[in-house]
Symmetry: C2
């Protein structure tokens, strides 16, 4: 057990103990590694407050249930454990990841039902994918996102090789990140983010073959709310439907959503500049509203740092 | 460093050192875990001889190249390292796994190009998926195998959630393992194995959307050889083409191929008994020829156990 009151530091919860991140390791025989047989979730802490923790925990438990995984904690116990981990770390801007792996099978067995599932968690400093005042340059990859018929995308999972290859593809083409497509060439998601476009005062995002992101959900709620407040700025209707590569390249505005980074403007898609090439007015509005939620007790929870 | 001459035991190679398997761990921040951004290969040792090691090493390096991963060893150095690991373990029947992971990015970065790739290897006792005298009962899963357009199946990878879900599906239906399909319902592969059927003296296996298994390749070579020796028993032509669910259920014989277990007869598919419900004559012939190769120096290498 680490001593509290130390300098802010990354910590992890492994085998029921809080340890320094450098000591946070998993057996190479755990099927969470050897079969990527695991689910996880990532929440974040901003200005010392945990954002939407309950929603992340709900999604995490739903994923475990679908994969027939379990951990020996109730949701309330898990929340307490994570709050304590962050409090002990002293980090006030952080990512918090919770992980359940299949574990190892009984000796001589290859039956996943004989495995003891393992729980891990860690807290590390918050990192911006891009500086918040910048826009992303995205390349549309030929790489197809793993389809729902193979891996249920509503279960947050570590099957990222398609995203990693898309990322390299993007670098090769001078872009910063990638958008992956489905078998029909429609835009699905990027490495760790959902994608929205704005066209003619309507907000579009796909509803199939992607993670049901929590930032994505918040954006849809905010769009609805902002539209009611300023009906001429944004249509009330969020359109859930396919986005073609062409629609993406010719959007008025576009952005990516992720717990890692929040709402990130996309200002270039392949060779096409989006809008003016700067963060658009509606994206800015959504971004400001998103960050304003972080101090509201309805959406965030104060971390009980040691005094 | 472990002392040689100890009782046979599982060992691993981690951070450039041989350690007991219980000490073999990977950082939970390694993207080999967090993004399943890794490739691997598994070879086996039988009666103290390494089987087809060079072919496994060749495939492993080809996978690394495709994923832009590297390790600081030549193929010859790696072979020596693995031979030494097995020799030190004292295990005479074993699996040997070699792994390359992306590693961790530079602090504050999410760029895979900043990662230092990591190498791991381990040797554990050989385990039969099923006793070699038994046949497998397979359920055809509705779960689709991750398609090639998403993840190149010729790169041996840990994206197994589709296979794991198929496995649970099989258990629910009273079977021992699963066959996954493509979007057209054609049979692809099971958790860790390729699938062959025999119908009218012809051997069929799919050539797309599956790992190009080394046991699979050996079976095709053996079939060719056996057919030349006994032309009435087996047609010379191995048919590479799609296998429908119906053809699978109505095969004369069927089997699975894997480094883990070699050639394993499939004697039931869903509710359909295959052939007589016992291991068929051609499967037996291929099996015997396969195991006979293990003592031939053309295919296997003696492990230099300490005297």
């Amino acid at each position: 057990m680490l001593k509290p009151h130390s300098t802010p530091q990354s910590l992890a919860y492994v085998d029921g103990e809080l340890v320094a991140i450098s000591e946070a390791k998993i057996s190479i025989l755990d099927w969470g590694f050897l079969h990527s047989d695991a689910t996880y979730d990532v929440s974040h802490v901003w200005q010392g407050r945990f954002f939407c923790l309950d929603e992340h925990i709900d999604r995490y438990y739903a994923g475990m249930e679908k994969l027939r995984l379990s951990i020996p904690y109730t949701k309330a116990q898990l929340a307490k454990l994570l709050l304590n981990m962050v409090a002990q770390s002293g980090l006030r801007h952080a990512y918090v990841e919770m992980i359940t792996t299949r574990g190892q099978p009984s000796p001589g067995s290859r039956d996943p039902r004989t495995c003891t599932n393992q729980f891990f968690a860690f807290v590390v400093p918050f990192v911006w994918i891009i500086p918040p005042e910048e826009g992303l340059h995205i390349a549309i990859s030929k790489q197809q996102r793993i389809p729902s018929a193979s891996v249920d995308p509503t279960i947050k999972n570590y099957h990222w090789l398609d995203l990693v290859m898309g990322q390299f593809d993007a670098y090769d083409r001078g872009a910063q990140s990638a958008a992956l497509v489905d078998e029909n060439g429609n835009i699905k998601e990027g490495p760790g983010f959902n994608i929205f476009i704005i066209k003619g005062n309507q907000l579009f995002t796909t509803n199939t073959g992607v993670l049901q992101g929590i930032t994505r959900k918040i954006v849809m709620q905010l769009a609805q709310k902002l539209a009611l407040e300023a009906p001429h700025a944004l249509n009330t209707k969020v359109v859930l439907g396919e986005i073609s590569a062409d629609a993406f390249r010719h959007a008025d505005e576009a952005f990516a959503t992720s717990t890692a980074g929040g709402i990130m403007a996309i200002t270039q898609v392949d060779d096409s500049v989006i809008g003016t090439g700067r963060i658009g007015p509606l994206t800015t509005q959504l971004k400001e509203a998103y960050w304003a939620m972080h101090t509201q007790s309805k959406y965030s929870l104060e971390v009980p740092y040691p005094k």
